[in-house]
Amino acid sequence: MKSPFWRRFTRNKGAVAGMAVLLLVVVVALLGPWIATNDPWGMVQQPFLHPWTEPGFALGTDTLGRDILSGMIYGARISLLIGAVSTVVALLIGITLGAIAGYFGGLVDSALMRFTEIFQAVPSFALAIVLVAIFQPSVGSIVTAIAIVSWPPVARLVRSEFLTLRQRDFVQAALLAGQSTPRIILTQILPNAMSPIIVMASLMVATAILLESSLSFLGLGDPNQMSWGYMVGSARTVLRQAWWMALFPGLAIVLTVLALNLVGEGLSDGLNTRLDGRTK
């Protein structure tokens, strides 16, 4: 705990707070089925119940009489799951393509960069909508869609790191020593590029959660999963009468995403990188 990384991380008060909130959300998500008092889909009470009027239904009920608090607990599970998995997939794609482009340079780099640029030119949310709509909403299609729209920034970052590191003398020395290309990429270059990738990963999870909730809001969420975005979406038409149905799930999203962003900044301080990703 006394390592220079933790010292720098903990100096950022916001990051520490973010870490605390994030841990809370993760614990809630993990222990979900045991904490939630009701099945999120179960219509167990009268609809439109105001918060704090009925014990056991702290946040009230929605238009169909479902417990909002339980819904939010289950929502945490699905948001974190989709956020984490889609980020991992996006990282795999982005790191691979970025490393190849950055290491080999030349034509390979140009071709891959044009490819990446085209993906970046497209409005990512619109593409995600189209992908999920066409392939029918499910956890799988949502994860794939988010991964597909999220990998370009990773690829660009990894590419620029690799381009710089490739020219460093210690890599040239490794080439002279006769080390093989995969070995150089994995043992020489990649460990030095990890810091900005880690920082970017935390920010990507935040973006993924926002994306997933936006898709669910529009009705493109997995119909079997109660997610925060869906809860806000179903509250849209009854905003006038039932403000709490939209407020609480939205707050949950804001807090989680904010926590992730703060942790990302803390990681950036701790790992000594600049905010735009490059190593200081």
Binding site: V130, A206, S214, G219, V232, R236, R240, V257, N261, D276
Partner: protein, 324 residues
């Protein structure tokens, strides 16, 4: 001359991008579960056997895939984006009807977000470490974490439902028959909430970027040279720090433009703003895939155009650009 060459290259790239996106559209239709024709016809049209047969011949769905692609691309080039059975109108017409509203919304949001974002970011950098800096940073962080649609809903809740200060739905007051300046004023009032909501997220992005870039630039050698010349701090901030810090901000604006157009979908849905985003939402609900894909293509084209504009602005701002 260099600038012209650079822009020509970028325009060409943009066109290629649009063609590729159209091809992706084409492949998506083929890859979707089910018969491509029913996808093209949409939920409503699939029940009309005659319509389906018409589509089959129009798109040459019994022909080899390359011919199909050529036919499709040919149609796109001639701006034939298909027919919406549900709305009984050509897709292109539906889109063109809505385009001005979206342009108005995203254009104002873009301008607002840049203007306020850069100003707040510069202020934050100038007063780095003080309460001004901390409060701007905290506010930016919060808006950066807020989902657009939720912010929109809360805005409607507070400003329309609770206090009735601003209209929260639509483009203009329905059935009022206003014209000229009065109409413009009415539209402007309706524009405030949606534009601000869309702008707030990006304002946070630009504020953070501006602050970081300015703090970075302030460390650079040429700023020290300027101080050694006895140049006043105000001028150093404007002519040296901000001038250089704007470069990454402009680049970022280009990248974010695509995001803003995507965000318009959510904003227009909540505020019932009659733009392309709203159109996409309706197409989603109605499972009208032709309309959905057509709207997607147009939004992509808009994003490409925004990117070109920011590229051009960048060449004006950075004299070194000829060297790339």
């Amino acid at each position: 001359m260099q600038r012209l060459q650079f822009m020509l290259a970028r325009v060409l790239q943009g066109l290629v991008a649009i063609v590729l996106i159209a091809t992706v559209n084409f492949m998506l239709v083929r890859a979707a579960p089910g018969d491509p024709v029913s996808v093209l016809a949409g939920e409503a049209g699939a029940s009309d056997a005659q319509f389906v047969a018409q589509l089959r011949t129009q798109f040459g769905l019994d022909q080899p895939i390359t011919t199909q692609l050529a036919t499709y691309l040919g149609k796109v080039v001639r701006l034939d984006l298909g027919f919406s059975y549900r709305q009984q109108q050509p897709v292109l017409k539906l889109i063109l009807d809505r385009l001005p509203a979206t342009l108005l919304l995203t254009g104002s949001a873009f301008a607002l977000s840049l203007l306020f974002g850069v100003t707040l970011g510069a202020l934050s950098a100038r007063r780095a470490g003080t309460w001004v800096d901390s409060s701007i940073t905290v506010v930016a962080l919060i808006f950066y974490a807020t989902p657009l649609y939720w912010l929109a809903l809360m805005a409607v809740l507070v400003f329309t439902v609770q206090f009735d200060w601003l209209p929260g739905f639509g483009f203009s007051t329905v059935g009022s028959g206003l014209t000229g300046v009065a109409l413009a004023w009415d539209i402007a009032q309706h524009l405030v909430l949606p534009a601000l909501t869309l702008a707030l997220f990006y304002m946070a992005v630009y504020a953070r970027m501006t602050r970081a870039a300015m703090l970075d630039v302030a460390q650079m050698d040429f700023v020290k040279t300027a101080r050694a010349k006895g140049v006043k701090p105000g001028r150093i901030l404007r002519a040296h720090v901000l001038r250089n810090a704007l470069l990454p901000v402009v680049t970022l604006a280009g990248i974010q433009a695509g995001g803003m157009i995507g965000g318009a979908v959510l904003t227009e849905t909540v505020f019932a703003w009659p733009g392309i985003g709203r159109l996409m939402f309706d197409a989603l609900l109605q499972r009208d895939y032709s309309l959905l894909l057509g709207s997607f293509l147009v939004t992509a084209a808009m994003a490409v155009l925004f990117n070109l504009i920011t590229d051009f602005v960048y060449t004006l701002v950075d004299p070194r650009i000829e060297l790339t």
